[in-house]
Amino acid sequence: MSTLTHKLRRVFVWELPVRAYHWLNVLAIVALCVTGYLIGNPPGIMSQSEASHRYLFGTIRFIHFVAAYVFFFNFVFRIYWGFVGNKYANWKNFVPTNRKFFKEMWQVISIDIFLKKNREHISVGHNALAGFIYFFTFIAFLVQCITGFALYADMSHWWFADAFIWVSGIFGDNFGLRNWHHATMWFFILFAIVHVYLVFYHDYVEGRGEISSMGGGWKFIEEEQFEKEHKED
């Protein structure tokens, strides 16, 4: 069996700012989804205490607003890092700019979804399909930030949130705005479910350190593949 042995080479894929962004994003999204769901569906609490002694819903909303700011500025930072970070962080990973991108996307679909057995190598960073789907998540981020700040604008005294006030005009009123903001939350939840599953899946079928990569930043690449790509460059 030793003929099958893969010699792996260590590649530093995710830089510290990318990893920090990722986990901060996780925290913010979890906080936003949990508090957001509660704001839409408040728990029924029977309590004997006076309203003046409680601030539960106020706290839930406060957490939501704080997490929203964290989420937004974290996102802005990630866009910035897409221009100054290493090649795995670059914005070109997310926007299909050439035919190779589409080719790899199809490859990933056939291997991951149709479970075809070809052994072609897939990028060590974001694979093309993942990158393209992240592009859609960024659009969802944007939708969520814009609708969220528009809802928040009338509670805010900061010009920044106030600048989003025009958005409710597009929806006609805050009803539609609120509904879309709430519905978009489900995109995040569905994304998270699939995302986590696929991370496990790739780790399982590739054995290249997919799960731990977001911890230390390391991924592993077959030696022969490394040599091949090295020559191509």
Binding site: M1, S2, L4, T5, H6, Y37, G40, N41, P42, P43, G44, I45, S47, A51, S52, H53, R54, Y55, L56, F57, G58, I60, I113, L115, K117, D154, I165, W166, S168, G169, G172, D173, N174, F175, G176, R178, N179, H182, A183, M185, W186, I189, L190, I193, V194, Y197, Y201, Y204, V205, G207
Partner: protein, 372 residues
């Protein structure tokens, strides 16, 4: 009467003629200044304006509506409000309240429009049906569209009373068979003030008119054209039940103990958090009460599309395109379930289809472990 025959009487002169004392007049001015949120000197400004300004003619049109706006207006807290505008002072034409009828009424309107071209204020109550050449609303042989265009041409400003005129209200709810259209979509190039609500609060209506008389210009409007003095805050922001909301104490059903205790009505569908109006601060019927105070949630009557954003007694709106009883959460939970099922199927399929690959990886790992 001391009026010069060629000069139109001022508001003050008309009021004195009707038997109001100066004291009544000053009380009225003070009330209005307070409603408009003016500083202390505002009352004097209003008094001075009403003493100097000759009355501004008002034409008040009724189209697709229920007349609740007029009803609300004549019931505003201070009697002068109704008298000053409606009784016999300014109102040159309104189907509901004028004494004249038929050709006489139409002639009065035509005269006002001609004599005061560019000066009169046009108040519109109701939306305008535009489907089938506007046959769904005709008055005196003319369609509402034509009447509106004709009257708007010489108006100084247009006041849209109520949700019908501002955003179509119930008759423009889906499927809107008559193509009921709000005024701002039909009239261009005229200053338009929206005073939405079903009906709007009488004092708000009076306040807007008094503002225009006193300062001779439109009140400050928000992004959709509503006077900021009355529509800059959500019902939620001035709600006396707000502390219960912040505490997380909600009415679960209308007959539970929480309802008795006066908890927040958010979970039984109160739309206060999304509705811009002055109900919480000014209240209705001489400040007696307003829906929330009476134990019923706000259903957002002053907001666009409020009929289509149901259901009234649930917080979450139905999600468009998925049938009734389908809010975002229900659809989301189903989607999450389908996703989870898909993942489970995929995991099983992976283990079957990629058996060899996974086996090799495992063997390779075990080999290395033994060698170590």
């Amino acid at each position: 009467m001391t009026n010069h025959p060629t000069r139109r009487p001022t508001y003050y002169e008309e009021l004195r003629g009707k038997g109001y004392s100066r004291r009544d007049f000053m009380k009225f001015c003070t009330t209005m200044a307070a409603y408009l949120g003016l500083q202390a000197s505002g009352a004097a400004q209003i008094a001075s304006a009403l003493q100097k300004t000759p009355r501004i003619p008002v034409i008040w049109l009724h189209f697709q509506e229920c007349t609740c706006c007029s009803e609300s207006f004549i019931r505003s807290s201070h009697p002068i409000v109704a008298d000053i505008i409606i009784d016999n002072i300014s109102l040159d034409y309104t189907e509901t309240l004028m004494a004249a009828s038929g050709h006489q009424a139409e002639a009065a309107k035509a005269k006002t429009m001609k004599d005061y071209h560019g000066e009169y204020i046009l108040c519109v109550e109701g939306s305008v049906p535009v489907a089938n050449d506007g046959v769904y609303c005709c008055i005196g042989g003319k369609s509402a569209v034509d009447i509106l265009q004709e009257s708007a041409a010489g108006a100084k400003a247009i006041l849209c009373w109520g949700s019908c005129a501002c955003n179509g209200c119930v008759q423009s709810a889906k499927p809107n068979p008559t193509s009921a259209t709000p005024i701002h979509k039909l009239v261009k190039g005229k200053p338009i003030i929206k005073v939405p609500g079903c009906p709007p609060i009488g004092e708000v209506m009076a306040g807007v008119l008094i503002h225009m008389i006193t300062f001779g210009r439109l009140p400050e409007l928000d992004r959709v054209g509503r006077p900021k003095a009355f529509y800059s805050k959500r019902v939620h922001d001035t709600c006396y039940r707000r502390p219960f909301y912040d505490a997380g104490l909600f009415v679960e059903t209308f007959d539970d103990e929480n309802a008795q205790k006066g908890y927040c009505l958010y979970k039984v569908g109160c739309k206060g958090p999304m509705t811009y109006n002055a109900c919480g601060a000014m209240r209705w019927n001489n400040g007696t009460s307003y829906p929330i105070q009476s134990g019923h949630g706000c259903f957002g009557c002053s907001e666009e599309n409020f009929w289509d954003n149901g259901p009234i007694y649930r917080q979450m709106a139905n999600f468009p395109g998925f049938g009734i009883e389908s809010n975002a959460d229900k659809i989301g939970i189903i989607a999450a379930g389908v996703t989870a099922a898909g993942i489970a199927a995929h995991a099983v399929a992976t283990n079957l289809r990629k058996k060899k690959l996974i086996h090799n990886l495992v063997e390779e790992g075990k080999e290395a472990e033994k060698e170590l």
